[in-house]
Symmetry: C2
Subunit: 238 residues, 2 copies
């Protein structure tokens, strides 16, 4: 059976350290997966990869927007996979994000592997944020303090997520990293919390991590990382 | 240009946690690299991959041995690469391991990438250890307390190493992980320290990490990792 491979370009620690320059095209990224999360050059919003299409969710103080991303656009960070369901079930009763996460973690066959998580459902509440466009060098934890947040009620759509084992915290974010895209393609972002009315949960067990580095990016190559601080930043910001 | 990929089967944290069952054959391992380090089923000594050949260095209290490993043998942990030199130089004057490591780190073009390190030289002193065969479940830090160590003088051979960025400490060991193999194939092991008389240093910059997991191993899947403790164990044992 073919291996399911999570492809990650750059690390979350790099993003936390303020390395926002796009270093891989969306076209190249799509060769490695049809499902995933990330951000766009200059951290201009949240990247959402669903069914092989790539979307960018941005927000200003009072307005939100989702648009398709052309293939030449560069991304500083993304994690994608050819999502392959290895376990699935339906939730028929309302459940909030904390409890749904707990339910999913109990159903993972191991906490030492990566998983893709795809949830199609209807939500009485969906609370997201979009990281605002920023210059390389500003720490993510600072940028994240002033990011627009939006809540929608009674919305149907898909949660796109990666679950990461604790050992890889810093490389990625331990636990869930979830983005949302509404069915009507008008609303999306990085998920803060939600209440799901009902939905279908698909878990995809991942066999291998393909960790790619932006080997030609001078900022990345020369950056001095404070790994412990960056791990804390991820917990504070994600 | 083809990407240079470091293939790692399982993680050093798994090894530290006492997961010693072999889960990948040497035959399969060699498809991913001709150069690297690891250990053998039941942590029965040090695995050394050099020029596409695989050796096992074992030691008892008073005897050491190196033998070639048949292709069907299983390994619990290994990291291999098709070593490709991107920088090389000669050291003509005696230098001890601490200073040689410092010199190499100063010449790495980034501390945020993995590198392979191949050093062919003559050594006035070479001090190694070999992990003794143990049962799955015994913590590596405990096993490592009673491991045989050997020192040879005036020996020529090759240092086989992987250099890992700090962010991946736990996944691998941050900094240098060096094994040694004598030219006469009679002595080798996990390097503690050495004095090199002269030698040729080759550094190979790595573009991507392919992190493989033993997805069919029940012990691995069910293990509860104490990541912080395992990172400390690696520092104490490696």
């Amino acid at each position: 059976m073919a291996k399911t491979i999570l492809f990650q370009h750059n690390t979350l620690a790099s993003l936390m350290a303020g390395i926002y320059e796009g270093t891989m095209s969306v076209e190249e990224l799509l060769k490695h997966g049809n499902f995933g999360v990330g951000t766009v050059d200059s951290v201009d919003g949240e990247l959402i990869v669903l069914d092989g299409k790539v979307y960018q969710a941005t927000g200003t103080n009072d307005e939100f927007k989702v648009k398709e991303v052309p293939s030449h656009v560069l991304v500083p960070y993304a994690a994608v996979v050819h999502h392959t369901t290895t376990k699935s079930w339906k939730e028929d009763n309302p459940i909030d994000s904390e409890n749904l996460k707990k339910t999913i973690e109990e159903k993972l066959d191991s906490h030492n592997l990566f998983y893709s998580v795809k949830i199609k459902g209807t939500f009485s509440k969906m609370h997201v944020r979009m990281i605002p466009k920023s210059k390389t060098g500003e720490r993510f934890a600072e940028v994240a303090k002033n990011q627009p947040e939006f809540t929608q009620e009674n919305i149907s759509g898909t949660l796109i997520g990666i679950w990461t084992p604790e050992l890889f915290h810093g490389v990625s974010v331990a636990g869930f990293h979830l983005h949302f895209l509404a069915d009507d393609l008008h609303f999306g972002g990085h998920v803060m919390d939600f209440v799901m009315q009902d939905g279908n949960i698909e878990i995809g067990r991942i066999d291998q991590l393909e960790q790619n580095f932006p080997v030609d990016n001078k900022t990345f190559l020369e950056k001095s990382f404070d790994v412990l601080a960056l791990r804390s930043d991820i917990e504070a910001s994600e």
